[in-house]
Symmetry: C2
Subunit: 352 residues, 2 copies
């Protein structure tokens, strides 16, 4: 999220990032404002806005002439409800397709979008392919914890009915991401389950447990629902079915509490004052349980860098997504994932 | 939870309830106190305490001579960590086994325990069998919602890898329970999923969706994680894997928020006062997300009434469990479930 230091042996070539300028609910306004903020915060990025050129030129104003901004015109705009699988075949003039195609062609290093999540995932995977060794790309999200150190929960909705090998790969990818992006040395990984003992849970969970013991991650065993917010481990792996349910449940807590507190505030002026003082504290404590506040989540496992944000992402959230994309490229998250998976495969063979 | 009105055509015979007096973490003290409270609150129950007679006599004091209390001696005590499946074969002198055996023999109408949850479930099912038509007994729990009307989430851990027919039966049992116990007319049922549209989710979820459309419940379609606290529907059905994860996640919110608020309180005296004023409000808003505060959850589908409580259940929680058991018996929840499932089977056949 902060400006990356470019010192010593680190590469200093600019990172070229495509912004799907038509993706979000407030496009292209928020996208353009996010681009301008990001350019101020990092001097080593070049941004390519893909979308309807006249609209983008108007929104950019004087920044249209910025030396590190370019525009690629795309006529078509993918809506939030559009069928993800149809984009690659039928929507080749959309900003989503054309933007990702620039990454596929090697003309850009990363892609950022606040658009149709399923569409971005499907099109990224189909155009760019998977990192060698990855069974399924995955989406993770960080949740705040009691310890203050966030926990990466993944998968949160990219795949349902995950096979044990998928979960094993999520663990490797999540470990690499947490280590490189958050600086956690040897992050601990927990398998989301209904009890701590080995042998608990579904058949898939039981088989995943065995794979996680030997795939090279720092496996801490099963964890339960309560361990996510407790921060028991750095990475929690699960199928996208329960991951998505838990994430959406978490996102709904603030709104639930505010509603429950309303009755309390109506009791009198003191209660109303206490509520007014307390609501921001509550919002802060629960921040990070909402995509929007966080500023994008990585799509891990695709052979290309894609950062996906909430449809209603603010300009600041979009700027954060752009800077995160830069960091993912610079730290070679994808190359590291490829090497870690190759290592895991070797370790698994030796186990046999 | 309140005293049942016994008027008009309702039966007024006493309900005989077995209390596993050795089950909980604070047994037999809390159990005995709960019994005494329950006797005060309902005049139409007879309570049978099963456990070590000398300890129970001592704890009961003058109440040992209460005309509606009896004691059945049981030598053995099941610990929280004991293997559930071994109880029926090897622990026949335990309070858990002997208590449930009284229900099986028809010498009691219901069984209440704050003991080993898995043990109570397994032993109830093995001794009493299932209600005709039930594929799997299930445990549900009520969660508070924005609307103020609680949502019944089930299954929360009795079964993992549930088949679609199991989920269909949870829906029928949950509807009957919500209607009879909470007075909700035609309760709405949602299928916990990762999106609202039909066709979303795992294979099991997709097949369950089809069954729920025709099994006689008031099916409102798929619901997402956020819909639980929003109170979108009265009953949310899911496999015990995700249900247990969501429940334990929910139970951990209060502890998480308290920890996050500690830093705020340390900022100064005003912040500390605001926190002190606010923590009880927060606890109240989140009450019901914890087994203990709620006072037991029903094991639905067993041919006998069993109410299971948290190990650390307070005397008040135990009294609530006892009164709930009385209500489940009086309202003939089990007979109603049997008729509803027979009706669902007929409806499904007509559909074909």
């Amino acid at each position: 999220m902060t400006d990356v230091a470019h010192t010593g042996s680190e590469s200093v070539r600019p990172v070229r990032i495509v912004v799907d300028a038509m993706g979000g609910d407030f496009a292209p306004g928020n996208e353009v404002q996010g681009v301008i903020q990001a350019l101020d915060r990092s001097s080593l990025i070049e941004l390519i806005l893909v979308g309807r050129e006249p609209e983008l030129v108007a929104a950019l104003g004087s920044n249209a002439a910025h030396p590190r901004v370019s525009i690629v015109h795309a006529d078509d705009v993918i809506a939030m409800g559009d069928e993800p699988s149809s984009i690659v075949k039928q929507r080749k003039t959309s900003s989503l397709y054309m933007g990702l195609d620039l990454v596929r062609q090697g003309k850009a290093d990363a892609f950022v979008s606040a658009g149709n999540t399923g569409g971005v995932m499907a099109t990224s995977t189909m155009l760019c392919g998977r990192i060698p060794g990855v069974s399924r790309p995955t989406i993770g999200t960080f949740l705040p914890t009691k310890t203050g150190r966030p926990t990466l929960l993944l998968d949160v909705g990219a795949n349902v009915d995950s096979k044990p090998k998928f979960l094993s790969d999520y663990a490797v990818m999540g470990s690499v991401y947490t280590q490189l992006m958050n600086g956690v040395t040897s992050p601990t990984v927990g398998l989301l389950n209904v009890g701590e003992e080995p042998g608990k849970g579904t058949e898939v969970a039981q088989q995943s447990y065995e794979l996680l013991r030997t795939n090279g991650v720092n496996f801490a065993g099963n964890v339960e629902g309560r361990d996510i917010l407790a921060g028991t481990v750095d990475v929690v792996v699960c199928d996208g079915f329960e991951g998505n349910i838990v994430l959406k449940f978490a996102e709904s807590i603030l709104s639930f509490l505010k509603e429950r507190f309303r009755a309390y505030a109506n009791r009198g002026i003191l209660q109303k004052l206490a509520m007014a003082a307390f609501t921001p504290v509550l919002r802060k404590a629960l921040s990070g349980m909402d995509y929007q506040e966080y500023g994008g989540v990585p799509l891990l496992g695709v052979n290309g860098v894609t950062i996906i944000g909430h449809g209603s992402s603010s300009p600041k959230a979009l700027a954060n997504m752009i800077l995160r994309a830069e960091e993912v490229v610079r730290k070679d998250v994808n190359g590291t994932i490829e090497r870690a998976l190759a290592h895991a495969a070797t370790a698994a063979k030796e186990q046999i």
